[in-house]
């Protein structure tokens, strides 16, 4: 009873949590609740930021390195899409690629900072001759493909599939090979090896290629440093970038392991096919940089104000310094310090968004412990995006016609609960933060009618008539099999 009174006296933080009274009551039911929901309660700031010593060991030797490893810094990358014309050829290609694929063991080994990854679309699995029963065991979103789900994803208007860059969104996209490296020479060597594999196999056609590379200071075409935030995953050996954030259950990002709800994510069958794999979301996002600059210029009172407005929309300064830690001006030293530039939360440090607006892009992508509808930890993805195309030179306000933007890559085991939720509920909606009329100011599907509120004293500021600064040029869902699964696929005899 004393415990109960003490908990109630702590006010809202405990009163708002259903688990508070259960803990007070104690008993086996409370322990069961604690055991299975420990990670979810981290949403209330009660989580254990120490690595869980009971964490199930990951079978790192079976997991493709690219499934877990953060993007190197700096980076050079290539994405190649292939069509399988002959099933046996597809299997032969997978057999030849296997020796070139590194596992996720020894993540800090310098050799592991560059890698090749292989993924398959649902059409690709069909083209390989995967049995129907296995095909049917894949999740619906993956089976349908991104183009078929465009309307529900908000890929409409200029982002609709009829405007996508061929062959993205078509049933011809079967195998995705990606390579990434901290330097151009190693990348070239990796791609040469992969190219040898697919050019020597008749019945495989390379149908699309996209090169990507870190822009100056590793900023996106909008001029902001990105890919700062990476979650810690239990058992991976890869630390997260926010020491205040409890590690995530591996099942949020790898099949075959418990996820944040305590359940095993639905897994493709047979077991060897699904286990240790994951799903990857791939989207080519064209950035309207000139339009962004023009909009900021029109809204800002002077150059300093323009910089502030842009930072408020993004949630960070161009250097990567977070607004929560540097609310008034950029701090390049902070932005460049990986030990500090992601070490923050929102609930106690900025609950009303007076530093980082509730609707800012970075805050929407990862609300951390902020008060939102729902549980943030159920909707996290690993983002591994890269930039493509040249930077629009500083000060240029007119579009130069160059194709530039972001290759969005995100990994998750629940396509609907993670990526699709992020896109539909946190990017293209604002109900979750109490702003139902607002979309993500940077990547939301506004179209000249967007609104963005910047909390500030004495009177809040509101930006109106936000256009869409990002257009989806195409994408797909890929399955990233384990190394065992790739062997199984290459040995199919159907």
């Amino acid at each position: 009873m004393d415990i109960l009174l003490a908990l109630l006296c702590h006010g809202e933080a405990i009163a708002g949590s259903w688990s508070g009274l259960d803990q007070a009551m104690g008993g086996p039911r409370a322990l069961l609740h604690l055991a299975s929901n420990r990670a979810i309660r981290a949403d209330y700031g009660e989580g254990d930021v120490n690595v869980d010593t009971d964490a199930r060991t990951l079978e790192l030797e079976d997991i493709q390195n690219g499934a877990l490893h953060p993007r190197p810094s700096p980076y050079f990358a290539v994405y190649i899409l292939l069509r399988i014309d002959v099933p046996a050829a597809g299997r032969e290609l997978l057999r030849r690629l296997q020796p070139r694929l590194a596992s996720a063991t020894h993540p800090t080994d310098p050799e592991k900072q560059a890698w090749v990854s292989v993924g398959l679309t649902f059409q690709g699995l069909k083209a390989l001759g995967v049995p129907q029963a296995s095909l049917a065991s894949f999740p619906q979103a993956f089976r349908e493909g991104m183009a078929a789900r465009a309307e529900s994803l908000g890929d409409v208007g200029r982002s609709a599939p009829e405007h996508w860059e061929a062959p993205l969104g078509s049933p011809d996209v079967h195998i995705a090979i990606s390579a990434i490296s901290p330097d151009a020479d190693r990348l070239a060597a990796l791609i040469d090896q992969a190219r040898m594999a697919y050019t020597q196999v008749a019945g495989i056609e390379a149908i699309w290629r996209q090169d990507a590379y870190a822009l100056e200071h590793e900023r996106t075409s909008f001029g902001f440093k990105d890919s700062i935030s990476h979650p810690a995953i239990e058992g991976s050996g890869i630390p997260g970038t926010n020491p205040k954030e409890a590690p995530y259950k591996a099942g949020e990002f790898l099949l075959g392991y418990p996820d944040e709800t305590g359940s095993l994510p639905p897994m493709p069958q047979p077991d060897v096919l699904g286990r240790n794999g994951t799903f990857l979301v791939f989207r080519k996002l064209h950035t309207n940089v000139a339009e962004f600059r023009e909009y900021i210029r029109a809204q800002g009172r002077d150059r300093a104000d323009e910089e502030l407005l842009a930072a408020k929309m993004v949630g960070r300064w161009p250097s990567g310094a977070p607004l929560v830690l540097a609310p008034e001006r950029d701090d390049p030293e902070l932005g460049a310090d990986p030990k500090r530039n992601n070490d923050f939360l929102y609930k106690t440090e900025d609950p009303r968004g007076l530093k980082c607006p509730l609707g800012a892009h970075a805050r929407r992508m990862n609300p951390r412990d902020a008060d939102i509808i729902g549980i943030q930890r159920l909707h996290r993805i690993i983002r591994r995006s890269t930039s493509y195309g040249p930077m629009l030179p500083d000060g240029v306000m007119e579009d130069d016609g160059e194709d530039r933007g972001i290759i969005f890559v995100g990994a998750a085991t629940h396509l609907e609960r993670q990526f699709e939720f992020l896109k539909t509920q946190w990017v293209d909606d604002g109900v979750f933060i109490g702003a139902p009329d607002e979309l993500d100011p940077l990547v939301g599907a506004a179209d000249g009618e967007g609104q963005f509120t910047i909390p500030q004293r004495p009177i809040r500021r509101r930006l109106n008539n936000l256009p869409a600064f990002v257009v989806n040029r195409g994408g797909e869902y890929c399955f990233i099999p384990s190394l065992s699964a790739l062997r199984w696929l290459s040995e199919l005899d159907t």
Partner: protein, 197 residues
């Protein structure tokens, strides 16, 4: 919706899942799921549902904002042989069901799920996964043909904000200096009008 209990009406089958259910009125959506109470479990489910809803914090605005729930109505009917789970909420139903169940914990929902025939395939040692629980809510639900909300344009957060604004406005009006400022500044005319009653 299953209106009659069948031998195994709720065997998990993702193909039978019907997404985007719920009839919206403006920003507010609804879910009404109808279940069958196991014979002999009438008293227990009544007690467990009341306990489930009366936990400290459950009736606070903060938790309701976190769930996005405007109302929750849990009803036993047909001589306590049937149970209705009804919620009106801000978001689309499908994306948020894991959050809603996860906030309380699936074990807490089990307190009353265990008394329902639809959950008969499960036990304390064999709890439904989140996908299975979501499926059962889905197949047991009937979408409204009419949904009228008094303030369909207001989310829970909007209501909280407006409540806050109204209370703050009352303080201004009650303060003689505040009342004076309302009367002297033409830009405050809309507020002055509201101060009249």
């Amino acid at each position: 919706m299953t209106t009659e209990a069948t031998e195994n009406p709720c065997a998990y089958d993702p193909e039978k899942y019907v997404p985007n259910m719920g009839l919206r009125d403006g920003r507010v959506n609804e879910i009404r799921s109808f279940f069958h109470v196991k014979p002999g479990h009438e008293k227990a489910i009544r007690e467990q549902v009341v306990e489930f809803s009366n936990m400290p914090g459950r009736r606070t605005l903060r938790v309701n904002q976190k769930v996005g729930a405007h109302t929750q109505v849990l009803t036993l009917f047909d001589n306590d042989t049937r149970f209705l789970f009804g919620v009106d909420f801000d978001t689309d139903w499908d994306p948020y069901i894991e959050d809603s169940v996860g906030l309380a914990g699936i074990e807490r929902y089990w307190l009353w799920w265990q008394h329902l025939e639809e959950f008969g395939a499960y036990s304390l040692d064999n709890m439904p996964s989140m996908e299975e629980a979501k499926f059962l809510m889905n197949v047991s639900r009937a979408t409204a043909i009419v949904h009228v909300n008094a303030f369909p344009h207001l989310t829970v957060a909007d209501k909280a904000k407006q409540d806050e604004l109204w209370n703050a406005f009352q303080k201004v009006v009650n303060d003689p200096e505040g009342a004076k400022a309302l009367q002297e500044n033409p830009a405050l005319a809309p507020l002055l009008d509201l101060a009249a009653d």
